[in-house]
């Protein structure tokens, strides 16, 4: 069985941890450069505020400051969600962090335990310890676990945990589930499926495998169909596709030697760093996984995963390689013959906070930022790609209170984040005050 733990309105919930007065109130979090809405509380959703709404439109529509507005504070979000992952590590035999706000767990070996009660308890523990509400879905595979988590989120009757553990529940859930929300089915396939009269997950799952093979050639769609029908066939590392960058390989033979593994892992890490730079991103979490050959049932089996949050998001090869090597040390055991390893970087954000924002309406600022980008690109091209990294790395120059100083301060001030909340978990200057 698999579970997925999904933070409810993650960024908003993070902002509410140190602002309990905002519970039950409309709250939004803005994208980089305060461009548009990237997170909304349920109350904000109820007011009709849509994801992606430009900030200036929000200000026009709600001029009275009834809505609490925050700039993105990834430093805070990474730290608080990291605590949730720490709890999950203690409560489940194996976990796989999928994104900043979602984490899969592998629950085999927990037969005989009331998993629904386990899930409800896990929510309670996370909510008490960290102050963040989560929704938990449990199912025979990851697609169904994710499906279950949607029900847990929408209906209070589930007490934050929904489990699909019988065929009856599976079919009931599929019938209630719109096809466009199914994990693995994007907008393009939804349109096509609707032409075939498929509106729910059930409609889709009901088709024969023959029809599926004839109609679709995409492996993700086929896997999704099989999973909706109860099979477990999405490989763990495939999860990395959307919100993270993964570099992994199977080895021609099997490897037990640490140094040999480390060479491979270092290469994957370097490749991840390259990919990050190619797409102009930085990552805040580095993770590795290691697995044995599942077909060699005569040999001891394991699938290990470990992650590390970086204090400063980066695309630097050195940092990512060093972190990956340190993680390898933590998971490596000499008794296993490893067949596959990979490095996954997550918590990906734009490299330059001074970025072209689709909804940026300030032409002058846009021009300044474009010129800056061009200069940076040129210098990086001429002198090597690590010469200048704008964005998070600019902030590494700090005084003892954690404030950006000198040149870093100039860039820090050029980015709009007028509504940034403090960082009470990562900067001594920001810790909460008790009266």
């Amino acid at each position: 069985m698999y579970g997925i733990i999904d933070c409810d309105n993650c960024y908003v919930s993070c902002e509410r941890v140190f602002r309990p007065d905002l519970e039950g109130k409309p709250v939004v979090v803005l994208s980089n450069n305060d461009g548009c809405v990237v997170a909304r509380s349920n109350e904000a959703k109820a007011l009709g505020i849509k994801a992606g709404m430009p900030y200036f439109k929000l200000q026009e529509q709600f001029p009275d400051n009834k809505i609490a507005v925050f700039s993105s504070n990834y430093e805070l979000y990474a730290e608080l969600t990291g605590r949730i992952v720490e709890i999950i590590k203690q409560e489940a035999p194996a976990y796989f962090r999928y994104s900043i706000d979602e984490c899969f767990v592998y629950l085999d070996g927990m037969e005989g335990i009331d998993l629904k009660a386990w899930g409800e308890n896990l929510h309670r523990r996370i909510f008490k310890s960290v102050g963040m509400p989560v929704s938990i879905g449990i199912g025979p595979n990851k697609t169904l676990a994710k499906l279950a988590s949607h029900f847990a989120k929408k209906h209070p009757g589930y007490r934050h945990c929904c489990m699909i553990d019988t065929d009856e529940k599976r079919i009931k859930a599929l019938k209630l589930y719109p096809i466009e929300d199914v994990w693995g089915i994007g907008r393009r396939y939804t349109a096509r499926l609707k032409e075939y009269g498929v509106n729910t997950a059930y409609d889709f799952a009901q088709h024969t495998q023959g029809w599926l093979r004839a109609t679709f050639h995409n492996i993700v769609i086929k896997r999704t169909w099989r999973e909706l029908n109860g099979d477990d066939c999405v490989p763990n590392e495939q999860l990395a596709a959307k919100k993270s960058i993964c570099t992994s390989r199977s080895f021609p033979g099997m490897i037990t030697d640490f140094d040999e593994l480390r060479t491979h892992v270092s290469n994957y890490a370097a490749r991840c760093a390259e990919k990050l730079r190619l797409q102009g991103s930085v990552a805040s979490i580095v993770s590795i996984f290691l697995s044995t050959n599942p077909f060699r049932e005569d040999l001891p089996q394991c699938w290990s995963f470990q992650e590390q949050r970086l204090i400063t998001p980066t695309s630097s090869t050195t940092t990512i390689v060093q972190t990956a090597a340190a993680l390898l040390q933590q998971v490596y055991r000499k008794d296993y013959q490893y067949k596959r390893a990979g490095v996954i970087v997550m918590g990906i954000g734009p490299k330059s906070p001074i970025q072209q924002d689709l909804f940026d309406h300030n032409a002058e600022q846009f021009q300044k930022m474009r010129r800056l980008d061009e200069v940076v690109d040129r210098i990086n091209r001429l002198q090597g790609s690590e010469t200048i990294v704008l964005g998070a790395q600019q902030y590494t120059s700090r005084d003892k209170d954690g404030n950006a100083v000198g040149k870093a301060n100039v860039f820090a001030n050029a980015i709009k984040h007028d509504h940034r909340s403090p960082n009470p978990t990562t900067r001594w200057s920001d810790i909460i005050r008790l009266k």
Binding site: D21, I84, E86, A325, Q329, I432, L434
Partner: protein, 147 residues
């Protein structure tokens, strides 16, 4: 048979942690070998629920007579169930406050938060079921040196 010599570069970029356990061959036979333990570390040894632990700074002197003064650092554990007499953090009227919890009147329908300074008044909470303790103070730290 020809032999090849390959020069390998030593990598110093990562540390290999040496487990401090008996039976490890150190450079010299140390009489202390059987008595090795990790150095005392406040974070590792005194904090039991790291994922639920937060820091705060005390403002004002509402808890002065309990030995907690302005500028002290408070270490908060959110995972603990607050008991009568615990020093706790609550969020009241838009601010975090540090007070001693008094649940002796719970049966009568209210609980109280006491300051430790006659200049401050006790806070009475009339709907204790809706009241949420933000966290329990496990340590306060007074800085005598000021680095």
């Amino acid at each position: 048979m020809s032999s090849r010599v390959t020069i390998l570069n030593a990598g110093f970029e990562t540390d290999l942690p040496l487990p401090l356990a008996p039976g490890i061959r150190a450079g010299f036979p140390s009489p202390a070998q059987d008595y090795l333990h990790d150095t005392l570390d406040f974070n590792k040894d005194m904090i039991h629920h790291r994922e639920a632990t937060f820091y705060a700074r005390v403002d004002g002197d509402s808890m002065r007579d309990a030995g907690i003064v302005e500028g002290d650092i408070a270490v908060i554990d959110r995972s603990l169930d607050p008991r009568n007499g615990d020093i706790i953090v609550a969020y009241i009227d838009g601010e975090f406050t540090i007070k001693r919890l008094d649940t002796t009147h719970r049966e009568e329908g209210y609980i109280e938060l006491h300051p430790a300074n006659p200049a401050y008044s006790t806070i009475r909470i009339d709907n204790p079921d809706e009241f949420r303790v933000w966290g329990v103070i496990i340590y306060t730290i007074h800085n005598w040196h000021n680095y």
